[in-house]
Structures are given as structure tokens and as C-alpha cells.
């Protein structure tokens, strides 16, 4: 098996770490080695959260520069920021939600036009998903991370099967939310497939 390096990025409070743990647990249950970095402490609500999750013959949790296979971006600006450690081969899933940093609100800086950046820097392999809207459709606003995990799964980079994630959902969440989370996962998966086809 090839090693798989995944970087999950977002803003504190978006559930980036808990999503990493769910994915890590799912991989670990398959008997495959997995390590993951977590940042606690000062990186609190409103700050940047970066989780590196590495699968395979790996030791440390930090992905070497340019070796990220997949970015799961929970917020648009943070997804773009993660590119500094990526390569042009990296596949990118971007939640199109924008969370405005206070530096922008007080007028010190400007939130960039993401589409313009994608064009200007010729960013490839990027799929934008309106995960918040999809989560709303499932009736469970908390299921944004499952939408993104569904899209990540559709890349076929993860050494897991659909039923493994469903099992994880049943382990991690209370029963009343199983259906909405599974639904969110499937819509995320479909969205990725539809969008990549449209690009091809």
C-alpha cells in the first residue's frame, strides 16, 4: 500500500480535529498504521486549525512539504493557505464557506476573491463544495464534516470502504443522527463524483 498523507484544515470550532479522529479510527480499525497531529491550547476558537493525518509506513505526524495527497479544507481561505505545503498533484476538497478573520473585519486586511486566486495561480484538482448547504438539506447542520468526508472518500485515496465509515458514524454519533450523517456522507461523495466528471 502507498502511504497517504491528508491535511485537514479549517478554523477552530469547525470540528477539524474530531473529523480527523473519526477518519483515523476508521483506518486504524482496518489494521493499517495511522498517525495524526493535533494542536491544542492557543489554537482556539477563531484561530487556524491544521491536522495532518498520515496512513501507512510513517512515523511522525508532520507531512513533508509537497507530499500532501489530499487537502480537506473546512473553510475557503484556509484551504488556499494549506497550498503552501502542497504540490500541484495534491487533490483539494474545499468547503466554500467563508469565515472572515477579524483582521479583515477591522479593515487591516482583505478577504481574497477565492475564484480569482484559483484562476490566477492555476490551482488544479480543486473541488469546491457547499457543505453547509448540503448539511442543511440533511436536516443536521452538524453534518458538514460528513459531507467533506464523503467527498474525501470519493477521491479513492483512502484505504477504506463505504461501510467502514458508516460503522464509524454509528460508533461516534448518537443514534438519532445516524441517518442524517450517512446521508451527508453520501451526498458529499456524489457531489465530488459529479463535479470531477464535469471537470473532465
Amino acid at each position: 500500500m502507498n502511504n497517504v498523507n491528508i491535511s485537514l484544515v479549517g478554523v477552530g470550532g469547525q470540528g477539524v480535529v474530531s473529523t480527523g479522529i473519526i477518519l483515523g479510527n476508521t483506518v486504524a480499525r482496518k489494521g493499517i498504521n495511522v498517525v495524526m497531529s493535533e494542536i491544542h491550547g492557543m489554537a482556539q476558537r477563531g484561530g487556524i486549525v491544521t491536522v495532518d493525518l498520515r496512513i501507512g509506513d510513517v512515523y511522525g505526524p508532520i507531512i513533508p512539504e509537497g507530499k500532501i495527497d489530499l487537502i480537506i479544507g473546512f473553510e475557503a481561505l484556509e484551504t488556499i493557505r494549506a497550498l503552501k505545503r502542497a504540490s500541484r498533484k495534491t487533490r483539494i476538497i474545499m468547503n466554500t464557506e467563508r469565515i472572515i478573520p477579524f483582521t479583515v473585519n477591522i479593515g487591516d486586511e482583505k478577504y481574497p476573491d477565492i475564484e480569482e486566486i484559483i484562476k490566477k495561480f492555476d490551482i488544479r484538482n480543486i473541488i469546491g463544495i457547499d457543505a453547509v448547504n448540503i448539511a442543511k438539506q440533511t436536516g443536521n447542520l452538524q453534518s458538514v464534516n460528513m459531507v467533506l468526508l464523503g467527498a474525501a472518500f470519493a477521491t479513492e485515496l483512502l484505504p477504506i470502504e463505504e461501510k467502514d465509515i458508516e460503522e464509524s458514524i454509528k460508533i461516534q454519533f448518537p443514534e438519532y443522527s445516524w441517518e442524517s450523517n450517512i446521508k451527508a456522507f453520501r451526498i458529499g461523495m456524489d457531489q465530488y463524483r459529479i463535479l470531477t466528471k464535469a471537470y473532465l
Binding site: 483515523g24 497531529s37 477563531g46
Partner: protein, 641 residues
């Protein structure tokens, strides 16, 4: 404030379908493999080592050990407390271990500075039952004021030092640390770093130990009462023990050689080992590694053998050249000519953590190999996103009120010493009220100096937990020496930044059981402060009146800004199903931007059309922005549900 990031549950790695259990109970299971955080693995290590007594003061990256313990210690039969500060915690565990109870204390690296007085001496006294002291170091300073390398403390105190590299080792080495401790009657320093404590990986359990939380203290004055004459004798024994430990380190299974023989060898330990492994895999190299887990005393013979069997040895370690100086000493003592590379000859940097890229760079410089770079994106300039005070944070209201009063009173270049906690973020724009910050308690200690050495007004900020930890002696000093200082104690009823641990000002203990609440007000009054006011920071008017009066008072005046941390309130409200939100009435809003530019709550934002809005998901309903001191146009209105 890291509670939000630990919602994931640990589950047993098996395919037997859904396993239902409470979040941390898996640590009590008899066997299995689990996907654990380093700090969670350390708690499992305590259970396997039979630890009966644990004490700490929370500090990143060690805090999660306590968070987990507070939930399971009782079930496991372990006594656990949050002590007032690190030295109290160390003194408590030293006594418990002297009484025959295996004991463990854990703290962040700078916490060991606070505990250093006891630390240095407990090594002289030694221990009866196992005693292990964990230092969570923070290379790259993810959440610390410095990145000191606490391995030096081991040598400083002649105390054995163990350094795990991953969660499995964190658990295994802790069990081993207790064995070493009891075999030699010595405390052991157990050093992790952020990337070990906060590394999640697969951990296979060993068998549980027998936990005993009560013992008996058999008096031994010559050992435990470090009067000069006793200390004199104990120092001799300490050196004897050190010499015996050298042998132990040389025969220890955690100091091992990996590889099949190569011209070049690498000596490494801790988190740097992981980066070395990843780097040589990336570079496609085969290099022997001497992986050290027992790093004080160092295994001299193993190192000399390794030096002798390689033409060149590279020492790869984070922060100081701790191992490198020792390796060079070994070469000198044993007369070995092998080339040694590291920090002291300029190849390896002295600061920040080592990721695989930095190790590849070091190796490429020394060995002269080229690193293949993947096709990367060119640099994209993006706005920064520093951490901010949460929506509803009572500290924001206090900073806002203080700023308004400072302006109203036309205070001339006031100095705002700050302290360690969430409120350190008062440093950020627009408040910028964190002018001097060294360590726990420095807000009030430094206030004495500023008030005497300058004619500038001094307004200091300190949190409730930090006040108990290190603020009280400074306050006594300011009162006794009659300095003119305003001290604002930000009492948010918790130790928020490290994840909401209780402190002595709360009516419950680590197990969330009832405990005596220590009154900050009574302490302050007891010290002799004349002007003491308790205010609700959400009430800006009341808060401003108090700050104004305090600023106009002579001597020391204290304001206790008392209001529960917003995250705790949010959690409670969610449980109660309550949902209070505010929104901006666009007809009344004049776009004066005061709420955006001066109050600056993360929930308030400027939309692309230039209108000011409140994010309903982020808004926590504190309502401070709706008062006329923030919005003079009454445009911010409560959403009626």
C-alpha cells in the same frame, strides 16, 4: 479553550461492530489496541504502572493527561487533584511517594521552573515508591512563552531522564520509568514534547498494574529532612546513584540501534526520531540509527560503540545540543576520531521543532545529497487569522471598558501588564492591552516595578486561576511596598485556555465533586487592599465606574471582573435548549463601525455589500454589543425566538 477539539471518541480497533462506551473508559479496558493521543496513552501507562496518586497544574501540552484523569481516576482508584501550582503538585506527589504510593505529576516545561525548588531537592531525598515527573516541552512554542529544553533539568538534578517518541512509547516508557524509580529509589524525569503528547497513534495495551492509593510514611529524617547535614550526606548518595544509573542506561532496552550497518550513523531521541525516520524514507537512504530513550545518564558504551562502528555520526535533536555535547564528550574520553556533526559545528539549527523537511535539509548539507522538490504553487499572499477571544468572552467586555476609561481619564501612556491565560489575547488589535508578559504572575509582580520606576499609570490583568497560582505573592508585595497599581482580576470561573480545569476559586474539585471555594475577594481584602470591587464585565457601565474609581485611588486597588467563561455558558445553554441571538437592524445601523473596529467580536462581520451583520451561528447572545456603550444607535437587537 481547547475543549471543542476533543470531541472525538476513542474506540477499540476491531471489526466487532459498534462499541458503545463513554469517551475515556476505554483506558480502563484489560487489553486491546486503540488510537490514542500521546497524553491519553500516558494515562494508560499510569494504570499499568499502578500509580495511586497524581497531581498537576494544567499546562499545554500536558493538560489532556489531567482532563482524562479527572474523568476516570475515581473509577481506576487513583487519587487525582489539580493543585494550586506545579511546586505544590510536586511536593504533594513527593510526599505520597515517600509514603509508599506510586505517584505521578505532570506539567508543561515552564511549570517545571515553578516546581524547580522542590525538583532539585527531591532528587537528593529520593523516594520510597515510584515517583515520576513529566515535563511537556513545547518546541516551536505552539502555546508557550519560551521553548526551553528541559532535558537539562535532569542533568542539573542528577535525575534519570526518559524521552518517548510516540504514544506507544509514552505508555511503555512510563511503566518503565516507575520500575527505574523504584529500583534506584530516585524520581525520574519523563520528558515529552508537543509532537509526542499531541501525536495520535495506535497503542497496544499491556496488563494493568495493582493500584494502591494509601500507604504509610515511615519516618526517615536523614533521608527526607534536607537540613544541611543531611543534604551533605544525600549528595554523596546521589552521585553513587548517578554512577549506577550509567550502567542501567547502557543496558536499557530503550537505547537501541536500528539498521544493517552503514558508514554514516544518526543519534537521535524523542520527536526528532520520527522526523529522522520519515526523512530517510523520503530520501531513500539506509542509515543506522542509535535511538535513545534513556537520555540521562547517557549510555556511554553504546554511544562509543556506535561512534567506533561509523565513519561519521550525525546527532539530530530538537532545541539544544544536549545529546551532542555528551556524544562529543564520549568521543573525547574514549579517544574516538569519528566525525561528529550537529548544532555545534553549524549544520543543525538550535531552534524550533524538527519536521522531516528540516531533517532532510540538515542531512543534505552534511552528506551532500540533493533533495527533489515537487512542483509547488507559487506563494499566495493571504490575510492572517490570529486566535481571538471567543464571541461572548467576558474579557472582551473588560478590555473594552478599560480602554474607554483610559481614554476618558486621558491617562498618559498607561502600562497594561498582562498574564498567562486566554486574556493574553488582549494583545491583539484593537485592544492592545498586553504590554508586558513574562510568566505566570508577572502581571502583578511587574506592576510594582513599573509603578515605581515610571510615572505612568499601571493597570494589570490576571485570571482567576493564575491569581491563585502565582499572583498572590505579587499582590502582597505591591500592597506592602505601597505601589500605585490597578489590578483587574478576570475571574471567568475556570482555567479556560488549557481546557476548563477547575481552580481553587470554584466549589468543586478535579472529580467535579463539591470542594471548598476560596474567595478571591477575601484574599484580596485579607492582604489589606482598601479598594476592592466585584463587577459583572457584561455590565459595561458598572465596570467602567469601578475602573475609574480604582484609577483615581492611591495604592493598590483591585477589581474582580466576575463572569463565567462564555464557552461554559454556551455549553450549558445548549443543554437547556436555550438559544439567545442578536442581530443588526439595518435601518438603524449607521455603519459607524464602532462594534466592528473597537468591540471586535468575531460574530460581528462586514458583509460584501458593506453592511454590518452578526453571524447567527457564532453569536452567543451575551448582548454586550447591544448596549449603548458599544452601539449608540440601538441597532443591535435581540432576536425573539
Amino acid at each position: 479553550m481547547e475543549n471543542f477539539s476533543r470531541k472525538g471518541k476513542m474506540v477499540q480497533i476491531s471489526n466487532e461492530g459498534a462499541i458503545k462506551m463513554s469517551v475515556y473508559d476505554v483506558l480502563l479496558n484489560d487489553s486491546g489496541k486503540y488510537f490514542l493521543l500521546g497524553n491519553e496513552a500516558i494515562v494508560r501507562g499510569m494504570i499499568e504502572a499502578g500509580v495511586g496518586f497524581a497531581a498537576t497544574y494544567p499546562g499545554t501540552p500536558s493538560s489532556e493527561v489531567g482532563d482524562v484523569l479527572s474523568r476516570i481516576a475515581k473509577k481506576a482508584g487513583i487519587y487525582f487533584e489539580y493543585s494550586t501550582n506545579e511546586i505544590v503538585a510536586l511536593e504533594a506527589v513527593a510526599a505520597a511517594a515517600a509514603s509508599g504510593v506510586r505517584s505521578f505529576t505532570f506539567m508543561k516545561h515552564v511549570g517545571l521552573n515553578v516546581a524547580a525548588d522542590a525538583f532539585m531537592s527531591v532528587s537528593y531525598a529520593g523516594t520510597n515508591s515510584g515517583l515520576v515527573i513529566m515535563s511537556g516541552d513545547d518546541p516551536s512554542m505552539f502555546s508557550s512563552q519560551n521553548e526551553q529544553d528541559n532535558r537539562h533539568y535532569a542533568e542539573f538534578a542528577y535525575m534519570p531522564l526518559l524521552e518517548p517518541s510516540n504514544p506507544q512509547e509514552a505508555k511503555d516508557f512510563l511503566v518503565y520509568a516507575f520500575k527505574i524509580s523504584e529500583k534506584y529509589g530516585t524520581p525520574v524525569l519523563f520528558r515529552t514534547t508537543t509532537r509526542v503528547s499531541h501525536l495520535r497513534g495506535i497503542v497496544e495495551y499491556g496488563s494493568k498494574g495493582e493500584i494502591k492509593a494509601k500507604g504509610h510514611f515511615n519516618k526517615n529524617f536523614e533521608k527526607f529532612t534536607l537540613l544541611p547535614s543531611n543534604a551533605y550526606r544525600q549528595k554523596g548518595k546521589l552521585i553513587e546513584r548517578y554512577n549506577a544509573l550509567k550502567e542501567e542506561s547502557d543496558s536499557s532496552y530503550i537505547n537501541r540501534v536500528e539498521g544493517k550497518g552503514s558508514d554514516i550513523g544518526i543519534i537521535t531521541s524523542g520527536a526528532a526520531y520520527n522526523s529522522v525516520k520519515d526523512a530517510i524514507i523520503e530520501l531513500g537512504l539506509e542509515i543506522d540509527i542509535l535511538k535513545l530513550g534513556f537520555t540521562f545518564p547517557i549510555p556511554e558504551k553504546k554511544i562509543s560503540d556506535f561512534l567506533n562502528s561509523h565513519k561519521r555520526v550525525i546527532v539530530v535533536e530538537e532545541l539544544d545540543p544536549y545529546l551532542e555535547t555528551k556524544v562529543r564528550n564520549v568521543a573525547q574520553i574514549y579517544g574516538i576520531n569519528t566525525s561528529i556533526n550537529g548544532k555545534m559545528d553549524g549544520f543543525s539549527p538550535w531552534s524550533y521543532e524538527f519536521n522531516p523537511d528540516r531533517v532532510m535539509e540538515i542531512l543534505s548539507k552534511i552528506i551532500g545529497i540533493e533533495i527533489k522538490k515537487d512542483d509547488k504553487y507559487s506563494e499566495i499572499k493571504l490575510p492572517s487569522r490570529p486566535p481571538v477571544l471567543c464571541p461572548g468572552c467576558p474579557h472582551r467586555a473588560t478590555f473594552y471598558a478599560t480602554k474607554l476609561v483610559s481614554k476618558q481619564l486621558r491617562l498618559e501612556d498607561p502600562i497594561y501588564p498582562n498574564d498567562i491565560g486566554c486574556y493574553s489575547l488582549g494583545y491583539q488589535k484593537p485592544y492592545q492591552m498586553s504590554d508586558f508578559l513574562l510568566c505566570m504572575g508577572s502581571s502583578i509582580g511587574s506592576a510594582s516595578g513599573f509603578s515605581q520606576a515610571t510615572d505612568q499609570p499601571v493597570i494589570s490583568f490576571i485570571g482567576d486561576s493564575t491569581f491563585f497560582h502565582a499572583g498572590i505573592p505579587g499582590l502582597i508585595n505591591a500592597v506592602h511596598n505601597n505601589h500605585r497599581v490597578v489590578l483587574i482580576i478576570l475571574d471567568n470561573r475556570t482555567t479556560a485556555m488549557t481546557g476548563h480545569q477547575p481552580n481553587p476559586g470554584l466549589p468543586f474539585n478535579a472529580y467535579r465533586e463539591p470542594a471548598k471555594e476560596i474567595s478571591i475577594e477575601e484574599i484580596v481584602k485579607g492582604i489589606g487592599v482598601k479598594y476592592v470591587r466585584i463587577v459583572d464585565p457584561y455590565d459595561l457601565k458598572e465596570t467602567m465606574v469601578a475602573i475609574r474609581e480604582a484609577a483615581n485611588s492611591d495604592g493598590v486597588s483591585v477589581i474582580i471582573a466576575k463572569r463565567e467563561c462564555a464557552l461554559l455558558r454556551d455549553e450549558r445553554m445548549r443543554k437547556e435548549g436555550k438559544w439567545i441571538r442578536y442581530q443588526i437592524n439595518q435601518e438603524k445601523c449607521t455603519k459607524c463601525m464602532n462594534c466592528v473596529k473597537n468591540f471586535t467580536c468575531p460574530a460581528i462581520y462586514v458583509d460584501s455589500d458593506g453592511s454590518v451583520k452578526i453571524d447567527p451561528v457564532l453569536c452567543d447572545g451575551c448582548g454586550v454589543c447591544s448596549t449603548s456603550l458599544v452601539c449608540g444607535f440601538h441597532a443591535i437587537e435581540r432576536v425573539e425566538q
